[in-house]
Symmetry: C2
Subunit: 214 residues, 2 copies
DNA sequence: TAGATTGTTAATCGATTAACAATC
DNA sequence: TAGATTGTTAATCGATTAACAATC
């Protein structure tokens, strides 16, 4: 296996997608697949698929292809799906609550262990077997639970203070739904941004542009 | 202005981000900015910024830089922020409701005009000045309102039937939160996918990988 | 063994960066 | 005019695709 530090963002970005498609194939009872068949299904080239897998050492067999279950497990392990990192949700507004309820964290490598909000109206509310706690309790909670990551569903203006506090609590990994630019202030933090606004505007661009074409 | 059809996805993907940063600059009272200053702020190179803008004709002035308000307006127009496309939400579960309540569509080029669900327990519910309608009413609604786009917050298994129906109703643009792969069945549809699961798994990969490095 | 399909190297393509002439 | 900064061309870099020898 090559040095994983050199894996490009493009390749990493395709891993969850491979994992998802392999899960679907498995559910369909498919035991083996060639890079050619997989490429058709996923809309990639067979070349790219083989290149991607070979970044991690190659999981296939010449003349046979790839064993679906085995390949899926390998990719899962590369992602770290089996690590069940402890994650907390900060911000229990509409979006935060939906995220907490909508996702099955355990299938994506995480375990949701706490929900926090600074709004007293929300603390005490039960979500998904968890009770919303006051953000004031974050210190003692983290000392005890030692969560690895945090989901930020907070307004931009709260971003810096909240993140600073969480980093003090030894949380350095963030799934960020806010507009706050974490890496600008904390360049070492591991951040995955979800910019819903940007995504919607991209759709807008594509509509506008397709209409211009008519 | 060059043929906008040739604009690459990489460039398009940066447009909303430019728009956002320009809005922030404007809010700070900043009237003009050079590609150099903007690049520092956004973590890009000045070269890339100038290249990007020049895909659309160039909005600057030598020796001066860019007028913030003017540049923002230009980018907004390129995206089509002023079009207010009519959009409907299909699927009023946790995530759908959160999306409807969380986003200010009017600032992103859309106008939310209807919410639909096939679950009778949800129809009649009021969200954001709108009432959840039965998906059975989609035909008559679309005939009357002629929405351009749909937000899909539905389970994967419902994806194909719902999309097929919507396309019959002359909706061809989708903001897709489901795992259903629209373009596989409907290659001409304009689709912007939000794969929250994939995003979370990417975070997982980055955590796993950074820990390996220690 | 022959056929299939990988792993891997080489070629191509496109995006990013650097450089600089044009010009405000 | 001199200084600043763009618009644009050329160079570099990296990712994707093609090709094929290795091998199951």
């Amino acid at each position: 296996m090559k040095d994983e530090h050199s894996i490009s963002k493009s390749v990493i970005g395709r891993l969850p997608r491979y994992y998802r498609f392999l899960g679907m194939l498995q559910a369909e009872g498919c035991e083996r697949i060639s890079s050619g068949e997989l490429s058709e299904r996923m809309g990639l080239t067979a070349s790219q698929i083989r290149q991607d897998f070979n970044h991690f050492g190659g999981f296939g067999q010449q003349g046979y292809g790839y064993n679906v279950a085995q390949l899926k497990e390998n990719i899962g392990r590369i992602i770290g799906i089996d690590k069940y990192y402890k994650i907390i949700l900060v911000g229990a507004g509409n979006l935060g609550r939906a995220i907490a309820q909508h996702l099955d964290f355990s299938k994506k490598g995480f375990q949701l262990v706490g929900i926090f909000d600074s709004d007293e109206k929300l603390t005490g509310l039960g979500i998904n077997n968890l009770v919303v706690r006051s953000f004031d309790d974050i210190d003692s909670f983290c000392t005890q639970m030692k969560p690895t990551a945090a989901i930020l569903c907070i307004p931009e203006y709260a971003g810096k203070n909240v993140t600073e506090k969480l980093i003090e609590c030894d949380i350095h990994c963030f799934w960020n739904f806010s507009h706050y630019n974490i890496n600008e202030d904390f360049p070492d933090a591991i951040v995955e941004n979800v910019h819903l606004n940007d995504s919607l505007m991209t759709l807008c661009y594509n509509i506008t542009n397709s209409e211009d074409a008519k």
